[in-house]
């Protein structure tokens, strides 16, 4: 059974069709990249899957269960986590607290009545948060306020928050946007490492073709909301329609 499926998914904004009849299937342990020119509907698709936007029609299924009537936090609880395009972190909280918030939601559900329980007693939350920060290399800075981190580290923290939620499927919206080449390299390594150690399934949106071709098992090409091609990196590289629409006919 596929981990994630979209069926005839359509999203219209007024007259504009941002997502046009998309049928996407992501298998377990697969790394899928979604590429396409600006305005192709990549972010819209991610926002539909995370339930930030309501689809106009069609269905989205995660682990075989329809999620179109679920709230965003319910979808996260089911195991879909998202890292944002910008560093969407809790700026005035410490780095550790940032990870703990996500770990709390993963370990203790979306809501609880523990307002009389001291946080020190939540050892499971502390452990998950510590392991996550260790994985993204921020453990040494755990007590700093998140807003003090350099931009690259903020983005790593952003990915850390998404990981601490202990997802089965991680949606990454341009994880290297705005990063320096060194930071990009470190992030790619991080993604590779996480993939190896946690066996996560990824859906990646990325502009950097080098990353896309090196990291993905399968690539989905969107243009004007439609899927125009789908296949392994090698197949996509040779596809004339892709080159025409996305790469402007330039040979790769």
């Amino acid at each position: 059974m596929a981990l994630l499926e979209t069926e005839n998914l359509v999203k219209e904004f007024g007259g504009l069709v941002a997502t046009d009849d998309v049928n996407l299937t992501v298998e377990e342990n697969e790394r899928v990249s979604i590429i396409g020119p600006n305005g192709a509907g990549k972010s819209t698709l991610i926002n539909l899957i995370t339930r930030r936007l309501d689809p106009t029609s069609g269905d989205i299924r995660f682990k075989g269960e329809s999620i179109v009537d679920r709230d965003p936090h319910e979808v996260v609880q089911m195991g879909v986590s998202k890292s944002f395009q910008t560093a969407s972190i809790f700026s005035n909280l410490t780095v550790r607290e940032n990870a703990e918030i996500a770990a709390l939601a993963a370990e203790h559900g979306s809501f609880g009545f523990k307002f009389l329980e001291h946080r020190d007693s939540l050892t499971d939350v502390h452990e998950v948060a510590r392991d996550t920060l260790d994985a993204v290399g921020l453990l040494g800075q755990a007590d700093r306020t998140a807003s003090e981190l350099p931009y690259g580290d903020k983005r790593r923290l952003e990915i850390g928050i998404a990981l601490a939620a202990e997802p089965d499927l991680l949606l990454m919206d341009e994880p290297t946007a705005g990063m320096s080449p060194e930071e990009t390299e470190a992030t790619v390594e991080l993604v590779e490492e996480v993939k190896r150690e946690l066996g996560l399934t990824f859906v990646l949106i990325e502009h950097d073709m080098e990353i896309v071709f090196s990291i993905s098992d399968r690539i989905v090409v969107l243009n004007r909301g439609r899927v125009i091609a789908e296949g392994t990196p090698d197949e996509i590289r040779g596809d004339p329609e892709v080159q025409e629409a996305y790469l402007g006919g330039v040979d790769l």
């Binding site: 709230d71 996260v76 998202k82 918030i101 996500a102 809501f111 609880g112 307002f115």
Partner: protein
């Protein structure tokens, strides 16, 4: 400090057995220090404020005002959970303050005059009301939320001014408060014996002060619980909180209910303190006052709002009476406005923020 940890190591097994027995009620971290510190300050406060030679002459304080400051302090403390920590500005907390005040009054007349039961009844009323109004108001965020809460509170003001006047006494307020004796033995307005009388003054103050210390301990525990962290996370980045899998809406409702609970405790004590419920306790100005007290004292802190309440009430009651100079009496509103503007201008994080900055300067920023 090292002694303490060494002895803690020796008695570790005892401590954990005790911890198991009393469970979550066992004090943790700074809790003992905070509670003990608050208790000492509250024990000395009425003496310094209203009876100590020289100082009390300078301050011109009096016993009843000391009690009132604590009561508003509880109100502001709870309000800060919502405004300072969760980042929600309610403009209708008079509903819980005044609602609890009326509920307490009616309860004392119809059921029991036991001060403890009166506080329990008023607080229960406020919690249920906060649940209901929070459920309706929290559908919208930002300015819409503020206006919705204001509208609901004004509805309650209107309801008690005429349609429900047969219960509330309408414009005259509720005059039938019948407060009994504490534990059936001590009249609240009577003096405490010997040294306690000199320090605390009346039984009423002792009663209010003990509840205040409990409220401080309760609020501090909430802030040290997962809730404290989640509230701040929602304030910082609501969308991210939702996308790590937290039910933001239910946590916000809990924040609203908890702040309503504190408002309820305070409103109940207000009735016991005044043995009367004025109609104005539901008026929107009461909602505004608690906002000003909280911001003046410093949002996002435990003690700031209580200090803000003290400063506000001091100006409202002492400065308005022509102290320290007679001619300013008619201008006390202006003085209050100036205090507010200057404080916020100079110290955006309020009086408590200023205190913290000074402390950080002295200690070099370590805690």
């Amino acid at each position: 400090m090292s002694d303490e940890s060494a002895s803690a190591g020796e008695t570790d097994t005892d401590a954990s057995a005790l911890g198991d027995a009393i469970g979550i009620w066992a004090p943790r971290g700074n809790e003992v220090r905070i509670v003990a510190g608050s208790a000492i300050i509250l024990a000395l406060f009425p003496f310094i404020f209203s009876r100590m030679p020289v100082v009390s002459d300078l301050l011109q304080g009096y016993q009843s005002l000391a009690t009132l400051i604590l009561i508003w302090g509880i109100f502001a403390l709870g309000f800060d959970l919502l405004l300072g920590y969760t980042g929600l500005l309610s403009f209708g907390h008079a509903a819980f303050w005044g609602g609890a005040a009326y509920a307490t009054g009616v309860f004392s007349q119809q059921v029991s005059g036991s001060p403890i039961l009166m506080v329990a009844a008023g607080t229960l009323f406020a919690v249920l009301l906060a649940w209901f109004l929070g459920f309706l108001s929290l559908r919208r965020g930002g300015i819409y939320f503020a206006i919705l809460t204001l509208a609901f509170a004004q509805m309650m003001f209107y309801m008690s001014s005429s349609p429900l006047a047969f219960i509330t006494g309408g414009e005259n307020g509720f005059t039938g408060v019948e407060t009994g004796e504490l534990f059936g033995m001590f009249a609240l307005e009577s003096e405490l014996p010997s040294v306690l009388g000199l320090l605390l003054g009346t039984w009423l103050y002792a009663f209010v002060a003990i509840i205040t210390v409990l409220c401080i301990a309760f609020a501090y525990r909430i802030l040290q619980s997962p809730y404290g962290m989640v509230f701040r996370a929602i304030r910082e980045n609501e969308q991210r909180a939702e996308f790590v899998g937290l039910n933001v809406w239910r946590y916000r409702l809990m924040s609203f209910i908890l702040s309503g609970l504190f408002a309820g405790i305070a409103g109940s004590l207000f009735t016991i303190h005044g043995t009367y419920v004025p109609l104005s306790s539901l008026y929107w100005t009461e909602s505004g006052e608690v906002v000003i007290m909280t911001v003046l004292g410093g949002t996002g802190s435990l003690f700031g709002p209580m200090i803000g309440a003290g400063v506000y009430l001091y100006v409202e009651n002492i400065v308005s009476g022509g102290h320290p100079v007679d001619f300013i009496a008619p201008f006390w509103h202006l003085i209050l406005g100036l205090v507010f503007v200057v404080t916020i201008w100079m110290f955006p994080r309020g009086i408590w923020g200023f205190v913290r900055d000074v402390r950080d300067m002295i200690t070099g920023g370590d805690e």
